[in-house]
C-alpha cells in the first residue's frame, strides 16, 4: 500500500482575534447574536479547471455546513455577496472590506485553490471585517477528493481562533444503519455524511460501535458468529480480533478507557449481565460488578477512574457510578423510571443519558455529583443514544422526529438541533470519534 504524502499544513500567520466573548467559549457577533460570517466561494488560482466549480463552491459549502452546525455563526447567504469571487483577490489589500461590511459580515472566509493532477493546494484565510485584518491564513495540500477534509480542518481553526479550543469538525461518527433493510451494519462517516464507509457487511445484526481513543479501531458487538460477542476492527489494516469470553456467556458491548489500554464490557451469562474490565485482546482483567440484576451500558469518566452504568437493582433502570478500583456503586439518577445509555462528558462535569418521558424517550444531562437533570429534547418524538463530541461542547444522538431514525447534533445545552444523516433507513447508536489528524 503505497500512499502519497498528501496533506501539508503551513501556518502562514496566527494572531489572536480579540473578538467579543472570545474568552468565554461562546461566539457572538457585535449585537450578541450569532456571529455573522461570510464564506466566499474559492478562487481558482491556476491549474486544471475541470473541477473548478465543484471545488470553488464545494469547499465553501463544507465550511458553511460546519459553521452552521456549530450554532455559533450566522452564515450570510451567498446570493447577497457583492464581489465576484473569481475576479477579486484573496489576500489582504486585494479586495474591498466594504463589500462585506455592507452586507453585515463581521467575519469573512476567503481562499483560493489550484489543482495539479489529482492534488489540490488550498489557501484559506479568515478576515476581521471590522478591523480590516487577517486573523488566520493556512495552506493545505491534499488529494482533490479530500477537499472536504480541508474545509473541516479550517473551520476547526476558526473555532480555535474564537474560543481557544479547536472545533470538532475533522472527526467522524460511527453508527448503526439498517439502510432500509433488516440487517444492521456499522458505518462511519464525517459529520456531513461524506466519506461514508461500511465497516461490517455480514448480513446479521451489528451494534454498539465505539472508537478507540486513537481513532484507529472500532469495537462493536455482532451476531455474525451467531452468538453475540465483541469484535475489534482496525480501520487501517482491516484486521479484526474476536473477543471470546473464556468462562462462557456473551459480550454485549464495550468501551475503551481514555488511555486506550483497557475496555469495560458488559458480559451476559446465565441471564445476568455484569461489567468486566478487559484488556485490548478481550481477556478479563477483573470483574467490576456482581449483581443478580441487569448491569449494562458502562462509560468511562475522562480521568479513567470511574464508570457510569445502568443497573436495574432498584427495580427500574437507573444510572450508577462506581470506582474502577473497587467499592460500592453510587446511584446518580432518581427522577424517572427508565434512564439508560449514559456517556460522561469529556469535560468531566455532566453525564448525558436517555430517559423515558411518558411513552417517549428524551436526552437529558445531569451533573456528575447528582442534582437536577436537564431535558434537552422534546418528548413529542423519541431521541436516544447520546454521544459527546471530543470537546464536550456538542452531543450527537438519534431521533425519529422526521419519521425514521436519523442522527442529529446539538449544542451541549440542547440548542441548535440539526440533522446529520439522511439515509433511507434507520441510523442509530452514534459514537463520536476523537479528533482525527
Amino acid at each position: 500500500m503505497g500512499f502519497k504524502i498528501a496533506l501539508i499544513i503551513l501556518f502562514l500567520s496566527i494572531r489572536p482575534w480579540v473578538a467579543s466573548g472570545a474568552v468565554t467559549g461562546e461566539i457572538r457577533g457585535q449585537g450578541g447574536e450569532r456571529f455573522p460570517i461570510a464564506v466566499s466561494p474559492l478562487k481558482n488560482t491556476g491549474g486544471n479547471t475541470a473541477d473548478s466549480a465543484r471545488l470553488s463552491t464545494g469547499i465553501a459549502d463544507a465550511m458553511v455546513h460546519d459553521l452552521e452546525l456549530s450554532g455559533w455563526f450566522k452564515v450570510l447567504d451567498r446570493s447577497a455577496y457583492i464581489e465576484n469571487a473569481q475576479s477579486s483577490g484573496v489576500t489582504l489589500g486585494t479586495f474591498d472590506f466594504k463589500d462585506w461590511a455592507t452586507i453585515g459580515a463581521e467575519g469573512l472566509v476567503k481562499g483560493g485553490f489550484s489543482v495539479q493532477g489529482d492534488d489540490v493546494t488550498v489557501e484559506l484565510r479568515l478576515f476581521d471585517v471590522y478591523q480590516n485584518k487577517e486573523r488566520i491564513g493556512k495552506r493545505y495540500t491534499g488529494r482533490v477528493r479530500d477537499y472536504r477534509r480541508i474545509a473541516h480542518k479550517f473551520v476547526d481553526e476558526i473555532i480555535n481562533q474564537f474560543t481557544g479550543v479547536p472545533g470538532v469538525f475533522n472527526t467522524r461518527i460511527a453508527y448503526v444503519s439498517n439502510s432500509g433493510g433488516r440487517f444492521k451494519e456499522i458505518f462511519v462517516s464525517h459529520l456531513d455524511g461524506s466519506e461514508k464507509f461500511q465497516v461490517t457487511d455480514n448480513h446479521t445484526i451489528n451494534l454498539s460501535p465505539v472508537w478507540s481513543p486513537d481513532g484507529r479501531s472500532i469495537l462493536y458487538s455482532s451476531f455474525k458468529d451467531r452468538n453475540q460477542t465483541l469484535f475489534l476492527f482496525e480501520l487501517y489494516s482491516g484486521k479484526e480480533i474476536k473477543f471470546t469470553p473464556r468462562g462462557g456467556g456473551r459480550y454485549l458491548s464495550g468501551k475503551f478507557s481514555p488511555d486506550g489500554q483497557t475496555i469495560v464490557a458488559t458480559l451476559e451469562s446465565g441471564g445476568n449481565t455484569n461489567l468486566y474490565l478487559l484488556d485490548r485482546s478481550g481477556n478479563v482483567i477483573r470483574r467490576l460488578t456482581n449483581d443478580p440484576g441487569i448491569e449494562v451500558s458502562p462509560a468511562w469518566s475522562p480521568d479513567g477512574k470511574q464508570v457510569v452504568f445502568v443497573s436495574d437493582r432498584s427495580g427500574s433502570p437507573q444510572l450508577y457510578i462506581l470506582d474502577v478500583s473497587g467499592g460500592a456503586a453510587r446511584r446518580l439518577t432518581y427522577s424517572g423510571n427508565y434512564n439508560t445509555s449514559p456517556e460522561w462528558s469529556p469535560r468531566g462535569d455532566r453525564i448525558v443519558y436517555t430517559g423515558r418521558v411518558g411513552n417517549r424517550f428524551a436526552i437529558f444531562t445531569i451533573p456528575v455529583d447528582g442534582g437536577e437533570a436537564r431535558k434537552l429534547t422534546s418528548e413529542s418524538f423519541d431521541s436516544e443514544d447520546p454521544t459527546w463530541s471530543p470537546d464536550g461542547r456538542f452531543i450527537a444522538f438519534s431521533s425519529n422526529r422526521a419519521g425514521k431514525y436519523h442522527l442529529y447534533v446539538m449544542q451541549a445545552g440542547g440548542d441548535n438541533q440539526r440533522r446529520l444523516t439522511g439515509s433511507g433507513g434507520d441510523d442509530t447508536k452514534p459514537h463520536w470519534s476523537p479528533r482525527l489528524d
Binding site: M1, D225, T229
Partner: protein
Amino acid sequence: MTNRMRIPWSVCGIVALFSIAACAPSATNKPDSAASAKSADADASGADRRAGEGQRGGTGESNTGASSLKQMQEGKSPVTPASSPLKDVFYEFDRYDLSADARSTLRANADWLKNNASARVEIEGHCDERGTSEYNLALGAKRAQAAREFLSSLGIPADRLSTISYGQEIPVCREHSEDCWKQNRRARFVIVQGRSTS
C-alpha cells in the same frame, strides 16, 4: 503560537484515511460466518459440537421454525408457526417475571418436552422497540432465563435448554403501537439439535 510544521502529524492522518479505503474490502469480503453452524459458544461441550442450525433436527413432525436470526437472514418474519408444539410466552414492558398465562404456556411446553426427550430447545428472549438496545439485550436475556428456569423447575434437564437474547433487534411485529409491542415482548422456543447448551 509560533509557525509550526506539522508534516508527520498530517501524513499520519492521510495514511489512515487511505488505509481505510484500501483495506476495507478484504475485511468485509470474508465469508459470512453467520451462515456457518460452527458456534463460538464457550459453553459448548465437545460431544455437542456437531453442526446444526435452526429447525434441523427435533422430532420429525414438530416445527418451531428456525432461529429468529436465521429467519431474518432468509427474509422471513421470525414468527412461531401456529403448528409449533412450543408456544411463545409474553412479558410486560421492562419486566421479566412470568405471568399466570406465561406459566400455563410453559407447563404445556414442558409436557411436550417430556414426551420428546431428544429435543433440545434454544429459548430466545425478545423485547419491544422502546428503550435502549443494550438494555433490551440484557432484558431479553433475563426473559429467556426466566423461562428456562421455570422449565427446569418442571423437570426439564437444563442441558436441553439454551438461551439467547435478541433484545429489540428482531421484532415479529414492526408497527409502533402497544398491540405490536406486546407481541414482541416474548420468549420464543426453537428446537435445535446438536447445539450446545448454555
